[in-house]
Symmetry: C2
Subunit: 411 residues, 2 copies
DNA sequence: CAGTATTTTTTCGAGGCTCGAAAAAATAGA
DNA sequence: TCTATTTTTTCGAGCCTCGAAAAAATACTG
């Protein structure tokens, strides 16, 4: 089944380990790397010397170590920003944004653009994406040699191979293999990532203490999305990006969901559902787009008076709570990050959510389940895509190195 | 984070690979192993020669290869049955059974015993388990030197470290660290496994074509349990055995579940729930144990006439369908095995189940979701425990070998 | 300011592992 | 009996990691 380990895999894996230790720790010394990886000092010395020679790592200036200790001072190793560059492309409702990121993770260029994703025909949507990428690639101000990888993020369902968007709420179009399109167009390896998965990846890098092995990122926006990390790894479905938390069934045969079915969590907790409920519309009413400003106004009104607005948030909390309860029945409770515009109204949602979750098997220790909120999803998605692309460069390009044997001829 | 690969890990991993190739394939030749593992012939030759010398593998008699080809005939490698033995202990409602299994997976001894698990006090229940194990261990007829591992399986929730039963429907007792108890008593490494997880493990060995990377085993019995395999690996929760499919919420605030909560899938699809519904009892009625014979009679009656019995099965199907739909929303659809006494009534359950699942996001291709049934769960649980224990011996005892260095002194 | 203690990093065999090539082994067909 | 064919073993080469010792770089001490 799984394949044996060759002798050369050893070096590749250990190189990968060193690179990722540096990416995680910032400026670790060789000694620190040896400690975290469990490899011997000699090995770390050999590997890091190779990596420096190849221009992947660089010794960072000393000084910053703060408290000076006795003995030879540690030399920090850092990622060489010029070793490579990657690009992120994030497509969301009526909005397209691109960033170029150096190997150390700093943004070196960006471009953003409004467009009407809901009505745009297929060719045009694809054209806008390739055009914005091309503009960035051909920008003479860009002083990176070449882009090693593109990570594209999109709201909606992607396939599990990270090649295509299968379905998205931002467009009626389906099955667009953006990864293949970008690769064909620019000859740069590309992937197509799900927005919520990228949020989870970003949280893992931003707050590794809180979001490490098991946690959940939930997008509370027009739709309800989820990124799930289990045992330190992003969880995806077997065929798709998976984790369609918003379409777990809350009430069989219940309110009309944007997906056309009934009773999904999203049909109670998505922006349109909260809006519909607050405006006392029927649960069968066709979902409509609600602007962020309108949602903020709605939340403000819900805080003011105990009317249908507050009740709408209560219902949303209930749906989310029962959904989370079912999820926790499957995977056990874990920290949750609530992201998106309605996360800013989490104070209105939380009481009903906790009450509901306490009634479920997964919510046995509902008080210990902790929530964190982050109203703005876009930066997270961008960061996640960036880290995703950089990790690819780390693992697939730099870890194997210059194919050992070929390199030896030179030396 | 994860640890570097040492030089000696290499051999250990490749030995493990060879052993598992033999366990999977039955009697593969060295050449076949080289092909499946991707390692070179020389390496396989070296490793298998070691393993044979250590008494772990044995060259099997030729002959059985069937069509004789030109050239040197392949020599099949097989597990040496006498290399080790393991024990399984399965505790289910009013029933305790133990088997001793040789290294090749054959049952060499067994004992079964009825007992009243529901009323038994803690000490007595533990005592019965240790006593039956002791009897088997001390049996003079048993011609295995020693038991290398005990895998105990139980209905209910276990912790994710496989040390303890946390909660079980077969006893009011909770938190019994059976693994620790057995280890302390007999000095043999032991684990405490969840019954449905073991069903899944057994299915993976029994039908690897159908149940390989992603599948679901659902126990339809008094309670509803699930074993889930994703990407070829058993899925467990972060703290517990996880996969409490039966306690996902089907109808918030709905029928009374055995767990004390309301609206769980099990409260509609467990034996007691079907019984309660068929007998036109209230959804609040206290769950009662229903014998397998009674359930079979109920199913027969449901097949005969379109009365409350049939309706009860319909409701069960609906609950299972919506539950599966929610599950499939998270992990994408996968083959399902229905196990247990009510799996024999799957013909009554399936129509409503498929109808419900078709109304969910996960059920988009509901027709392509395939179900298989297996009315008897006990043999599966036993087999799963056996394979689990044997895999442990493969990976943890035989793969590392005689600690290389220590062994070299002899040679 | 020289010497010592301390810590980090590099150097240098030793021992292991896998691999490819070639040899050896074992059999069917001619 | 010889040849072709296939499987398995043997053997040397090339890497890789490791431990120990050396080298490097700094703080402390008198």
């Amino acid at each position: 089944m799984s394949v044996g380990i060759r002798h050369d895999d050893l070096r590749r894996r250990n190189r990968a380990m060193v690179i990722s230790a540096v990416r995680r720790a910032g400026q670790p010394s060789r000694t620190e790397i040896a400690a975290t990886t469990g490899l011997s000092h000699s090995t770390i010395s050999a590997i890091s010397s190779d990596l420096i020679q190849e221009g992947i790592l660089a010794e960072s200036k000393p000084g910053e170590t703060g408290a000076l200790k006795r003995g030879r001072p540690q030399v920090g190793l850092a990622l060489n920003p010029e070793a490579a560059a990657v690009m992120t492309v994030v497509l969301s409702l009526n909005f397209l944004s691109v960033t170029v990121i150096d190997y150390a993770g700093q943004v070196v260029a960006e471009e953003q653009r409004r467009l009407d994703t809901l009505t745009m025909p297929r060719d045009e949507l694809i054209g806008e994406c390739t055009a914005i990428v091309r503009r960035r690639l051909e920008d003479p101000d860009l002083d990176v040699q070449s882009i090693a990888r593109i990570a594209m993020g999109i709201q909606g369902i992607t396939d599990s191979q990270a090649r295509a968007m299968l379905w998205s709420p931002i467009t009626p179009l389906t099955d667009i293999a953006f990864a293949d399109i970008l690769e064909a167009e620019f000859g740069i390896p590309a992937t197509m990532e799900n927005d919520c998965n990228m949020m989870a990846v970003a949280l893992q890098w931003r707050q590794p203490e809180r979001y490490r092995d098991n946690f959940i990122a939930i997008l509370l926006s027009h739709g309800i999305g989820m990124g799930l990390v289990l045992k330190g790894e992003l969880f995806t479905g077997t065929h798709s990006s998976g984790g369609e938390f918003g379409h777990m069934i809350h009430r069989p045969g219940g309110a009309l969901c944007r997906c056309g079915r009934r009773g999904c969590v999203e049909a109670y907790a998505g922006n349109y559902a909260i809006w519909r409920s607050a405006k006392m519309m029927s649960e069968d009413a066709e979902p409509v787009d609600v602007g962020d400003a309108d949602m903020r106004a709605l939340a403000a009104r819900a805080r003011e008076t105990d009317g249908p607005e507050r009740e709408a948030y209560r219902k949303a909390g209930e749906a989310l709570g029962f959904g989370l309860g079912s999820l926790f029945a499957l995977i056990d409770p874990a920290p949750v990050a609530m992201v998106g515009v309605s996360a800013a109204a989490f104070d209105l949602i939380e009481p009903a959510l906790r009450e509901a979750i306490a009634q479920t098997a997964g919510g046995q220790h509902s008080k210990s389940i902790s929530f964190d909120t982050e109203p703005n999803e876009l930066p997270l998605i961008r960061e996640g895509c960036a880290m995703r692309a950089l990790s690819f460069v780390d693992q697939e390009i730099f870890a194997p190195g210059i194919q050992a044997k070929a390199g030896k001829h030179v030396a």
